[in-house]
Symmetry: C2
Subunit: 348 residues, 2 copies
């Protein structure tokens, strides 16, 4: 282990406590678990945060892979993270899981019961949607504010200090998630078809998209599109649409501007429903931005444009681009919950 600050802190933690917390980010593409020591203090977080062990596996959304596979994936990834940390399972004090597909209390109960079979009753178990882990990765574990996730899909999720929550979008491509990567790419493909059959203006998207797919004519796009129903395969075209917009293509710019309005609309809907900006609409609140569509290293910065649009309505919106991964956010949620339950400087 490196003799940097984190390493130093970590050794100190190890000497002071033998207990750990697990944070799990369970997504439709991958699942990550981190094992962190139980911090003996509450006011400040070390930077970088100490991570004893980390493990990754595949999908744990049971809507996608079924209950048995999802449960096995979660159990395996936690076991591996514990093992890599050099601690025993009995050292686990709390687990927070943010799992894709968990939308209702009955979903939470299902995952909770899986965990009860693995960990004894004194281990605290917290089950949430994976948007919670994403939010917490930006707020360092506090469940307050709004998170906007825009990758293949898009969703806006908000939390208040008194435990209320609300979501907007996240209904998939058929039900109008037009700010998602899938939505942006589908509009790009549609623009090519429309330019080809005379319904829409000519656009640079035609040559750029055909080149990137290795196709020779827009006629071939129909076959390509329906050959494989995977949403991620369509969404992979987002960088092509962004590059056309950056090169000045009018059609691509309209597509991105529409996506910005869609994403901003989903944030504003959540903020309004939860009164996150206070009764006068001027209060400050965090907006955590996560996902490939919102990545900041582009000259056409979708995330910044979304924030600009939100700021016109809510001047107190504070954008946050997380520096840690969602699994760490989940671990910090567990840590925050635990802090409220244990005496100062004690371990329960």
């Amino acid at each position: 282990m490196d003799q940097n600050f984190a390493g130093f802190q970590l050794m100190r933690f190890e000497s002071e406590c033998s207990e750990v917390i697990l944070g799990v980010d369970g997504g439709t593409t991958s699942t990550v678990c981190v094992c962190m020591p139980l911090f003996p203090f509450s006011d400040h977080l070390p930077d970088p945060l100490p991570v004893l062990g980390r493990a990754a596996a595949g999908c744990s959304n049971y809507n996608s892979v079924g209950e048995v596979a999802a449960r096995d994936t979660l159990a395996t990834v936690m076991e591996e993270a514990i093992s890599k940390s050099g601690v025993k399972k009995s050292a686990v004090r709390a687990v927070c899981l943010g799992v894709s597909g968990v939308n209702h209390p009955k979903d939470e109960e299902r995952v909770f019961n899986w965990m009860r079979d693995i960990f004894p009753a004194h281990v605290k178990i917290y089950v949430h949607n994976d948007a919670v882990a994403a939010l917490a990765s930006g707020t360092m574990g506090k469940l307050l504010g709004c998170v906007l996730i825009a990758g293949t899909g898009s969703i806006s999720f908000g939390f208040t200090e008194d435990g209320r929550e609300a979501r907007a979008a996240g209904a998939g491509p058929v039900l109008g998630d037009w700010g998602s990567g899938y939505g942006i790419a589908a509009w790009g493909l549609t623009a090519v078809v429309r330019a080809h059959d005379g319904r829409g203006p000519q656009t640079m998207l035609t040559s750029r998209i055909l080149d990137s797919l290795g196709l020779s004519s827009p006629d071939e796009l129909i076959g390509w599109t329906y050959a494989d129903p995977s949403w991620a395969r369509i969404a992979a075209l987002v960088p092509v649409v962004v590059s056309c917009a950056e090169a000045g293509d009018q059609v691509a710019n309209e597509i991105l501007n529409n996506a910005v309005q869609e994403l901003a609309s989903s944030v504003k809907a959540v903020v309004q429903r939860l009164s996150l900006a206070g009764e006068d609409g001027k209060g400050s609140f965090p907006v955590v931005m996560v996902g490939g569509v919102l990545q900041p290293n582009r000259s056409w910065d979708i995330g910044s444009e979304v924030i600009n649009s939100v700021l016109k309505t809510y001047a107190g919106a504070c954008p946050i681009r997380p520096k840690v991964e969602p699994a760490i956010g989940a671990a910090l949620v567990a840590w925050n919950f635990l802090l409220k339950e244990i005496p100062a400087n004690g371990h329960g």
Copy 2:
């Protein structure tokens, strides 16, 4: 056989000729074949048209069911229509097939070769997309003008007298067929989700759609939508959207108005590319309207609104709602082609 005019005509045909033509409308939902006598005249068509036999079967789109099943379906439905007509296979003089999924010359060649295995070389075989059968059902066999089909999917197809053709839309739901039944219904479902999460205005669509699906909350719409990928299942909600629009719901009216603009745009694109309205844009041309979305017996008449929109650009557009089914249109196409090849009053 009834002793009506058609029956009388038919008996006269039977005494004059023993040869028949087959018209096939091969769709993704069903396939229909009609067997008609070879008319001994060219100027006027009898009304009603004489049909010796008719048979129906399932899907013959080989993109959907595979080549073997598609070929078998076509062979079976033709054999049954011939059998019901009381004639022998050797009486078949010409066959015209309008088959869904036939989009390129290689597709035409594939179906043509299937027919060559069934019928001897002197039988004329004409293979087209099923839009051709739909157009011909409105133009009584003439391949001239534009056909707009709006059912589960939507497509606009046009033909000129010198054999040029063009199509617009028909690219499926991912690629922006927003005027289709699927598109209208998907917008309706999306409007419910948006009203529920605060992104959109409240709408009558919420209660009407939930009632029609037997669901209790908009949250359940996501699960319902992705439980079954069938496009027709979504499109079946069109009458609910139309009824809300007829009852004055603003959101439903916007959806239908957008669909009208999409459908009109696809017709205008074809008319422009083929110069169907002549160089001055004032010439007359038929627009054949087919499919459940365009059915006329509603107070909110999507088809009429489409025509009104087309007329603003092309004053010579002549709407036609076919009185015969597409399979008869296909038979009339065969008859028209044949007339150009045989001497007057002769049978070749």
